[in-house]
Amino acid sequence: MDVLSQLQRQLADFLASLYREGFVDDQFTQLQKLQDESSPDFVMEVVSLFFEDCEKLVNNMAKVLEQQVVDFKQVDSHVHQLKGSSSSIGAARIRNVCIAFKTFCEAQNREGCLRCLQQVNHEHAQLKANLQSLFTLERQIVAAGGSVPAMQ
């Protein structure tokens, strides 16, 4: 089998595993569908934006949670935004953490919030690494002369 086919197969498998493990969900598929000739790096762009945003939000939340008196409303609002953006790009795991995070905010549970924040960080790092691998694979495929197959 030539390199291209191998790469393509690798990509397909990798992507399938991401879905299987819940890193990404159907919304990610939608995202991929949006990539076209006019915006060949669309997925990467949006995902990068998301990661930047995520980091900012996490930092803000950490700051707020460090205060003596925690403004849970603020934390909640950040979580809300993170939930929105993560669900929009299909980052399922992060979104799920956000859902739990929200309940802790509403309960004004600082410990719970801090735990969730850590989890968000963790998931963020994992997803980032996974998607980097994905993009690398895709680049290799394109370099080898192939085109990136869209999932489903």
Binding site: V46, D53, Q81, G84, S87, S88
Partner: protein, 659 residues
């Protein structure tokens, strides 16, 4: 596929396909909906980028904005350059709902809300605030493909309104019969019904068409006037000054003295205003206003110009019985003028309402303003259905014609009706009215039933006092309900000083103000609750009060159908005024506190109160499904609208309220 995409994207990005920025009337390009000009507002850059891409793929022309304030500025500068706005709800610089209301008010653009929050309450809030649609994130491309329908629908309705506005102007007041029908149906059907109503109206007023045609043969093609808050305020003042029944576009125009404004502009705006009022009353009736309706009122309690105008509108457009108006005023402003934050003028409103035979003269004390006053006389006649007034009430004082079922709650003014409120009120009313319409139409309230609502006292149908006595003990009123149907008062008393909303539980014969929800029934009148019934707190301090105007549905068993509609605005400290059908109540005089009808128990607002309302509604014979729309803020005391229950149904009602 690639070729198609290329073509598509080029189409999408070219603005030329969709007409110019003049934007009047319904412009549909050949490739419609391609080229639809969309403005997306979201502070989340990721989502913004995503939406932009998806919208472009739908062949729309997209502009993005990550800040609400920038978006507003952009829209103001380039009016007519956008067809639809997509806005997120949670934004740091401005609440999405606020933007929504401002847009609806200033430029009548369809706005679609988006949020990751998909709870029913949140969605309800969006609708109440006037959103054309509410999308839940993550948003899919398919959902975006359909947004063009909102544009068309809105433009269609607007252009229809404009077309008929002229014919409407001079004969409005005289064609009450028609108006009533129209109002009723419009309330009934909400926006969708407007078309039908307008058609009826146009038929009824054929003779006027000729006159108007000369002025502007194609009203719908005229450049749209943007009714800014200031302009609207002027409009409202003019209407108030003239009195709702005499407020014809020509006179209004003269009074406003705004260069460049034409009579047609005024006429169409007047028409909308009246519809709005109707909707408010209708909504109140339906009691469907959920607490989200109260929405977040950013502004403090100051009376927002809109609020005032709403009341006026209500008064004008709806047939608010003088008493009701008075009562509303009383309630709203009943509390000592000082406390009333609202800037309502002397209750012309009340006066107006008084005109009817059954009306109870309203004393000028009502801050609420004259606006509403006049309408009553006319209203009563043509208020076959409870409609309408409820709608308008929201912001202001809604006076229900004696016949009308709707109750107007002046509340809105109290709480600084913000544009948000009005929007939501309108929407809410529409919703409610639809529901209510069916129910209320049943019987026309007898004009003769006049219920005077005394401030700070329960409204007792038999009482007719033009002045409110602040000192009345709240409880006093309710005892006598000879005929008073349930009165719902939803009072939200934001004020700290326990101004309390008259939240009282009305036990048999007592007036309870509960979230106003429609209590309808025999002349059920929902007392305007915003007044605190307590004798102590005669003044209503409406700080950011939420006015709840609920249209009460008439309970079958209750007397003439009086619909109370409560419109509640979310406000920080909102007072909820619940004005039930004033027919029997007769709000009168200056009320420093809410007319007696309302049960005076004050109690802290809690969500449970809202629940009460819900229950209350449901228990009525009408099964009015009204959700508590009162939103209580932390510091507000929310008065639960007091439902005055008619004896026959009191048991039902009471049971509901037992907490």
């Amino acid at each position: 596929m690639a070729a198609m995409q290329r073509v598509a994207s080029s189409l999408g990005t070219s603005a030329s396909t969709y007409g110019s920025c003049k934007g009047t009337g319904v412009k549909v390009s050949d490739q419609f909906p391609a080229g639809l000009r969309v403005l997306v507002v979201d502070d989340d850059i990721t989502c913004l980028r995503l939406l932009e891409k998806m919208l472009r793929r739908c062949l729309y022309h997209v502009t993005t904005c990550s800040q609400a304030t920038a978006a507003l500025k952009l829209l103001r500068e380039r009016k007519g350059c956008f067809d639809v706005v997509l806005s997120d709800v949670h934004m740091p610089d401005m609440d999405g709902f606020k933007l929504l209301e401002l847009l609806g008010l200033e430029m009548d653009l369809p706005v679609i809300m988006m949020s990751a929050d998909g709870r029913t309450s949140a969605v309800m809030r969006g609708i109440i605030h006037g959103a054309c649609d509410y999308l839940i994130k993550p948003i899919r491309e398919e959902e975006l493909k359909n947004i063009w329908q909102h544009v068309i629908r809105k433009k269609w309705h607007d252009s229809k309104e404009q077309e008929h506005s002229g014919s409407f102007e001079d004969n409005d007041w005289h064609k009450q019969g028609n108006d009533d029908a129209e109002i009723a149906s419009s309330v009934h059907e909400g926006a969708e019904g407007v078309l039908k109503d307008q058609k009826k109206r146009s038929i009824a007023k054929e003779e006027d068409d000729a006159e108007l045609e000369n002025d502007d043969p194609s009203a719908s093609k005229k450049p749209r006037v943007v009714w800014s808050v200031e302009l609207h305020q002027q409009f409202v003042s003019a209407v108030n000054h003239l009195g709702i029944d005499k407020a014809v576009p020509k006179r209004i125009l003269e009074l406003m003295n705004v260069p460049g404004l034409t009579r047609e502009n005024v006429a169409s705006h007047l028409q909308k205003f009246r519809l709005y009022l109707k909707r408010l009353s209708g909504v109140a009736q339906q009691g469907g206003i959920s607490n989200t309706f109260c929405g977040p009122l950013d502004s403090n309690v100051k009376l927002n110009p809109l609020g005032r105008y709403d009341i006026q509108v209500l008064a004008a457009s709806s047939q608010i019985p003088p008493q009701t108006l008075a009562a509303l005023h009383a309630e709203l402003f009943g509390h000592p003028a000082g406390s009333m934050v609202t800037t309502v003028d002397q209750p012309a409103l009340l006066q107006a309402s008084m005109q009817g035979p059954k009306c109870i003269p309203v004393e000028p004390g009502m801050a609420f303003g004259q606006r509403l006053v006049k309408c009553q006389t006319n209203m009563s006649k043509r208020f076959p259905q409870n409609v309408v007034s409820a709608e308008e009430v929201a912001p202001g004082f809604v006076a229900w014609p004696s016949n009308s079922v709707g109750t107007v709650g002046p509340g809105s003014n109290l709480g600084g009706m913000s544009s948000q409120n009005s929007n939501m009120l309108m929407d809410l009313l529409q919703q409610q009215s639809q529901q209510q319409q069916s129910q209320q139409l049943s019987s026309l309230p007898e004009p003769s039933r006049v219920i005077n609502v005394q401030p700070s006292c329960l409204v007792v149908p038999s009482q007719t006092s033009a002045t409110f006595q602040a000192g009345n003990s709240p409880a006093s009123v309710n005892q006598n309900y000879s005929r008073s149907p349930m009165i719902d008062y939803s009072l939200l008393s934001p004020q700290s000083n326990n101004s309390s909303l008259n939240i009282g539980q009305v036990s048999n014969g007592d007036l309870k103000t509960t979230g106003v929800s429609g209590y309808s029934g025999l002349g059920s009148i929902s007392p305007l609750s915003s007044c605190s019934v307590n004798p102590d707190n005669s003044s209503q301090q409406v700080q950011s009060s939420t006015m709840t105007i609920r249209a009460a549905r008439q309970l079958p068993g209750l007397g003439p159908d009086i619909s109370n509609f409560q419109v509640s605005y979310g406000a920080k400290s909102s007072e909820v005024l619940d004005q039930g059908p004033l027919r029997n109540l007769g709000f009168v005089g200056k009320c420093t506190s809410i007319p007696g009808r309302l049960a005076v128990d004050e109690f802290e607002s809690t969500m449970s109160n809202l629940e009460h309302e819900k229950f209350y509604m449901e228990m009525n014979g009408n099964k009015v499904k009204q959700e508590p729309y009162v939103e209580f803020t932390d510091n507000t005391r929310v008065g639960i609208p007091i439902l005055s229950q008619l004896p026959p149904t009191s048991s039902d009602l009471m049971s509901v309220f037992t907490e």
